[in-house]
Symmetry: C2
Subunit: 365 residues, 2 copies
């Protein structure tokens, strides 16, 4: 066994060490008896120390675990002193943010990162099982996919004394790529071209927005999935979107049940039932126009206005899925005006084809 000490509890002629190697939430209990050659040293072990333990795995007599290891040898790889910031008590996310190099050792972030890793793999599995080709679209790009003003510029010119043209403008012809370049906001443009060769492709990579929006829904850097399918229509697109959401939840419930339980216990008590809600019920498909009518007739007092031509807000989306549909929902056929130009217009040219999946608690996924 190799890992890091979570806690030490002393008894008469021995003590217990809870050891964790980061592979799962649960610790392995180590019994360290006073027969150990380096017992005096081992007694000084505190939370955070790293060990290599040899011993026998035996059925545990104690409560709380089925197995434990009776140590025959304990190699101390590294000690931790009393400035080690992670202790047995719970820590706030704000405190953990200050020790980003250590926070993956906390139960909370350990679970978050194991879930994220598994989720990433399940995303690849989903698409590869269905014959999609994974494409790495460019990160540095000369294109802007979603409108100006949100891009980070990528440059190798001297910021202090940049090369200039006769007119005093920046001479990007002398920048690294001989033109202005940016961090991508979407791999869609390239993925569309690839879909016209491979029929079904997906991207899964980092994307960037230079938006100074400090909300729970905005990040400057995030990993995004973009499937593109040739010979597909709006219904096929909704089928795929609904299928992957269910697939990923089912996969996580099987692969990471302990991680989900920890999040349910400490972060969001409705998590497990909400995941079941999405998996077990069919998505109900609601055209945007119908969604607006339903919201208007709902009798609810919303904070944001409900009007044809306005975007749906979280409170509207949550009402639709939680109160009205009582199942996950898919809104489609948005007015042309509120969706970007590059999204396919429907045949009457009044609406466009993007879709939004709604889930209780979240609204738009």
């Amino acid at each position: 066994m190799q890992g890091w000490v979570r806690t030490r509890r002393d008894s008469k002629d021995f003590f217990f060490i809870e050891l964790n190697d980061g592979s799962c939430l649960r610790n392995l209990q180590i019994i360290a008896k006073n027969l150990l050659a380096n017992y005096a040293e081992v007694q000084r072990l505190t939370t955070g120390a790293s060990l290599i333990v040899e011993g026998e795995l035996v059925a545990s007599q104690g409560k709380g675990q089925s197995w434990e290891v009776v140590a025959e040898k304990i190699d101390i790889v590294g000690l931790a002193d009393d400035t080690y910031p992670l202790q047995k008590k719970g820590h706030t996310p704000e405190f953990l943010r200050e020790i980003a190099h250590l926070r993956p050792r906390s139960n909370l972030f350990g679970c978050v990162f194991r879930l994220r890793s598994r989720l990433a793999f399940a995303i690849h599995k989903f698409f590869q099982e269905r014959g999609f080709v994974y494409v790495h679209t460019p990160i540095i790009t000369g294109s802007d996919c979603e409108g100006a003003g949100e891009l980070f510029r990528v440059t190798a010119i001297d910021a202090k004394n940049p090369p200039r043209t006769k007119d005093g403008e920046i001479d990007y012809a002398r920048d690294f790529f001989a033109r202005p370049t940016y961090l991508t906001v979407s791999g869609q443009l390239e993925a569309e071209a690839f879909a016209l060769s491979f029929s079904k492709v997906y991207t899964f990579g980092p994307t960037f927005r230079a938006e100074n929006s400090n909300t729970s829904r905005h990040a400057n850097e995030f990993w995004m999935i973009e499937p593109e399918m040739a010979f597909c229509d709006l219904n096929g697109n909704m089928d795929l979107a609904e299928e992957i959401v269910k697939y990923l939840i089912v996969d996580l419930r099987e692969s990471c049940p302990e991680e989900l339980e920890l999040l349910a216990k400490f972060v969001d008590k409705d998590l497990i039932s909400r995941l079941a809600f999405v998996v077990e019920r069919a998505f109900q498909r609601v055209p945007y126009t119908e969604a607006i009518e339903l919201l208007k007739k709902s009798g609810e007092k919303f904070e944001f206005p409900v009007e044809y031509g306005l975007n749906l807000q979280s409170e509207h989306e949550r009402w639709l899925t939680e109160k009205h549909c009582k199942c996950p929902g898919t809104v489609f056929n948005y007015p042309k005006e509120i969706k970007p130009f590059y999204m396919r217009p429907n045949d009457a040219n009044k609406t466009r084809t993007p879709i939004d999946l709604l889930a209780p608690g979240n609204g738009e996924i």
Copy 2:
């Protein structure tokens, strides 16, 4: 069947269409008879047109394919005219580079991108099967991992009139992240911290170098794998590196045999035998000092000098693996001076622990 016309061959009362949907190298042969309602239209089909075909899959009488489809209905989704640049003849990579949006439809790039997609998935499979946690390390970073002068800067300040301090320096406090930021050259720093929580982690994401080196080994943007393991030593590291190389080759030979055959036929006739060479023989591990001695005694005339303290060049690496070892090789224990400071020194502090895998034809992998 849905796909794009590769070729059309005319016969008396019918013609053959070779249709490809990008899912594999091989085409499906479609028989279009003059009984079709839109036969006149269908007769105008040329390479590049996209079709939806309904019909019966039957055993083929002709040579070159076991199956073919007798079309009952052909929907023409899009026509191609005679300016369509991909024709039946082979095209040079230089020409295909000019039509990047269409080149995935060529046999060569179709194979390259299908292989790349499968390879990416196999990389994830390898690590996930072994309990590694996948971590997404930051792309935008304030750190420099490998030495100055190779970084792209990421910025949102006005290049023409940047904010300046009293001294006339750029005032990065007023840039987006309130400090100078760059595109990452390595996720190693973060991955090392994560390995000290999860024992085994890997990164697999884009990395950037602002190096103006126009060689087959340099790219400004590329996807890199970085495993980090706690409680591991040099031998464990070599085991993993050798294992993944063999694993990926075995996976590709099983998943993409037709793609590899095409590359062997048109790009590198020794490809299949070289892959077998690496899979079937054990890697031989050679300390750097021994490699230098072997090269000095080899009697070969090398273009680049061979001396303790100099890096090995491709020609040296190829001699070691092709002529001397006659198997793939792993060189380790490099002199401290030629490897970066952050690489772990060995115990005598004269050498560092990085390793290089060598394969015939390539030298360093």
